[in-house]
């Protein structure tokens, strides 16, 4: 195993570990930090996966790390301060069960990858299960957390999982499209944080169960 490959292995392991931290933390601030760390890991992963020689990959990795590791967490921490809510995540599924489901999903991701035809044997056997497991962790966060801001965090983890898969397709994605994806993500989080502010003002809570004015 070469140095780059062992670095890749460690980065993927770190990525999966952060998923579990995000699933198992009781404080929202911890989850925001975990997602920020995951954003930075993704930047390193992009460089490690593609040798780090091309300017294109370096720019993309840097842009992604700055956006996900710094800018988005800053927006989320500001939203958190403004709304001054209780800082617990208040999951509808307990932390331990969600951790367990997350771990099972990771194992299933590895099993599923074994059944799919892979184009090459260096990156894909690592990145495909990592991507599937991260998407699953994002889904668990999205469906089992009640606070609006926790759902945004779940969406970010989901997006991170998709980004990992995108690393397999760097050749097929024009640079501008990659930047467009990041820009859409940034604007999306920005708009969501504004809406969160308004939800808190109108409903005096960030509990999405209170969003029940509209129904048949």
């Amino acid at each position: 195993m070469t140095g780059v490959d062992s670095l890749l292995n460690s980065l993927v392991a770190a990525l999966l570990l952060v998923n579990l931290v995000a699933l198992g933390s009781s404080r929202i601030a911890t989850v925001v930090r975990a997602v920020a760390v995951q954003g930075v890991i993704l930047g390193f992963l992009a460089v490690a996966a593609h040798g780090g020689v091309s300017n294109r990959v370096l720019t993309l990795a840097a842009a992604s790390a700055v956006l996900k590791g710094w800018l988005i967490p800053v927006i989320l921490f500001r939203a958190l301060r403004q709304v001054a809510i209780k800082r617990e995540v208040e999951p509808s599924l307990g932390l331990l069960p969600s951790l367990l489901v997350g771990a099972i999903a990771t194992v299933l991701a590895v099993v599923a990858t074994g059944r799919l035809p892979l184009a090459e044997t260096r990156l894909a056997p690592l990145l495909v299960p990592a991507s599937l497991a991260t998407v699953a962790a994002g889904f668990i966060l999205l469906t089992t957390r009640r606070k609006a801001i926790s759902q945004v965090l779940g969406f970010l983890v989901l997006e991170n999982g998709i980004f990992v898969f995108g690393l397999l397709l760097v050749e097929a994605m024009p640079f501008l499209v990659e930047i467009g994806v990041l820009l859409d993500l940034f604007v999306g989080i920005f708009v969501l944080s504004i809406i969160i502010h308004h939800i808190n003002r109108e409903f005096a809570s960030l509990d999405t169960r209170r969003l029940s004015l509209l129904k048949e």
Binding site: P117, A119, F155, E159, E171, V177, D184, V187, F203, S212
Partner: protein
């Protein structure tokens, strides 16, 4: 020059945002829409494909979408001038700027030849419409915006995942990793089947969420219900058409790879389910705008069904796409006027709309006949074409369900709309400041005239536009 259709509205969105005058912003909006429409007509009149580079090219389906979107937006922009005159108490800076941004991003969808770029454009339309839904700043509209953004964002994220899967299908099949539609189509035979199937399923869920296919439709009644009528028209006629074109392109690639039967089963299934869910929720519906939202769910179901029938039904599907966009434009603009006049949109508040608003009330009535597929309007013809494609394929059960569900929807919508239109208008409704004026009535009337024309006699340039798009989408199937 070729990309002016994209860049002009985006540049004007910035200009409008920094325009200090509340009265001038809607006028700039309308002027931009007129310029965009003129530009589109000029582009469509020229025979050559317009574009820049490989990723941005206006092919035949793109031409159809651009024409449709530009026409619908023109009517909505003119309507907005009249509408915003009644809403001078509200800041309209974001409203006008975001509407223009939506036009720019919808045009980008028409030009996109790359699966990733298409995704960026569709996601951008979602983000640009969120502040529009939130125009009224009520708790209800905040809730609707939140649901719209979260559900659409998750859906569209899955569409990106699916796009990557399709790209990986090319790589895994031994081909070159490319997400350009012409490349994917040319190399369709070598696409890896398991990745393609998984990718198509994810893309159907993803773009299906944008379309509002059941069971991913839950955001739709809330968003359409709380947004101003003109925004509903842009959402139900414009954004859905963009997402449907994306779905058609992917169906074409999947079919070219020999997985057409798989894609068809999924599309027909989800189409019937959407029609059934919409039909059930339309019965006893009391809210006019939510009624239109469920009608849109039903129409998207019809479109998905038509897309799943195979190559022969592509013309019918595209014709229905055009008819649906125009019909929904009529309904949302006219119901928007009703909402203004009554200060409410449920049958508890709205009574005797034909008496209070003779013009808008008549438009709602005729629009109702149009969108439910009654002759002599356009949707009748396109639904008949879809039905005959179903029977040509020998799918009697699907055909029977299709007819039964159309009747159910007609009954549900008819009961709701007639309750609002008939009877005596309550005295209070006459005190509202809304009066029927050219700017708020003529755009809906123009759209209705087109729906009628397309039902009686499809003009040759329009027929050619649709036929070319259908032919391009049938290559390889």
């Amino acid at each position: 020059m070729a990309l002016a259709a994209i860049l002009l509205p985006l540049a004007m969105a910035v200009v409008v945002f920094f325009t200090p005058s509340k009265r001038w912003r809607p006028r700039l909006l309308a002027a931009t829409a007129v310029a965009h429409f003129a530009l589109t007509v000029a582009t469509l009149a020229a025979p050559a494909e317009a574009g820049a580079g490989q990723w941005l090219r206006l092919d035949a389906p793109g031409r159809l979408l651009l024409g449709l979107v530009s026409l619908l937006f023109l009517c909505c922009a003119i309507y907005s001038v009249g509408y915003l005159r009644y809403r001078m108490e509200r800041a309209n800076r974001r409203f006008c700027a975001c509407l223009l941004a939506v036009l720019g991003t919808m045009s980008l969808v028409a030009f996109a030849q790359h699966l990733g770029l298409l995704w960026v454009a569709v996601e951008a339309t979602t983000l640009a419409t969120a502040p529009l839904i939130y125009f009224n700043r009520t708790p209800r509209s905040i809730e609707a915006t939140w649901k719209y953004l979260v559900i659409s964002s998750i859906g569209i994220a899955l569409a990106l995942f699916g796009s990557f899967f399709v790209g990986y299908a090319a790589l895994s099949g031994g081909g070159e990793a490319s997400l350009l539609f012409p490349d994917l189509l040319a190399g369709a035979a070598t696409l890896s089947k398991p990745w393609l199937r998984a990718g198509f399923a994810l893309l159907l869920i993803g773009y299906g969420t944008k379309l509002g296919l059941a069971p991913m439709h839950t955001w739709k009644p809330d968003a359409y219900g709380e947004a101003p009528g003109v925004v509903g028209a842009v959402l139900a006629g414009g954004l859905t058409s963009c997402a449907f074109l994306a779905l058609l392109r992917l169906t074409q690639i999947t079919a070219a790879a020999g997985e057409g039967a798989f894609a068809g089963r999924l599309l027909v299934g989800i189409g019937i389910v959407s029609m059934a869910v919409a039909g059930a929720l339309l019965l006893g519906q009391r809210d006019l705008k939510r009624m239109l939202a469920y009608s849109s769910v039903e129409q998207m179901g019809i479109l998905a069904l038509a897309a799943g029938l195979g190559a022969g039904a592509t013309f019918a599907a595209l014709l229905h796409l055009v008819n649906n966009a125009l019909g929904k434009g009529v309904m949302f603009l006219a119901v928007g006027n009703v909402h203004r006049a009554y200060g409410g949109k449920t049958t508890a508040e709205v009574r005797g709309a034909l008496q209070r608003l003779p013009l808008s009330g008549t438009l709602v009535l005729l629009g109702l006949f149009a969108v439910t597929g009654s002759p002599p309007f356009g949707p009748f013809v396109s639904e008949l074409l879809i039905l005959s494609a179903i029977f040509d394929a020998g799918r009697w059960l699907v055909g029977g369900l299709f007819l039964a569900l159309l009747l159910l929807v007609f009954a549900g919508m008819g009961a709701t709309a007639l309750a609002a239109l008939q009877g005596r208008a309550p005295a209070g409704s006459w005190r509202s400041e809304y009066r029927e004026r050219a700017a708020t009535v003529l755009p809906a009337l123009g759209l209705l005239a087109l729906v009628l024309l397309f039902g009686v006699h499809l003009p040759e340039p329009v027929r050619a536009l649709i036929a070319d798009a259908a032919a391009a989408l049938e290559v390889g199937r």
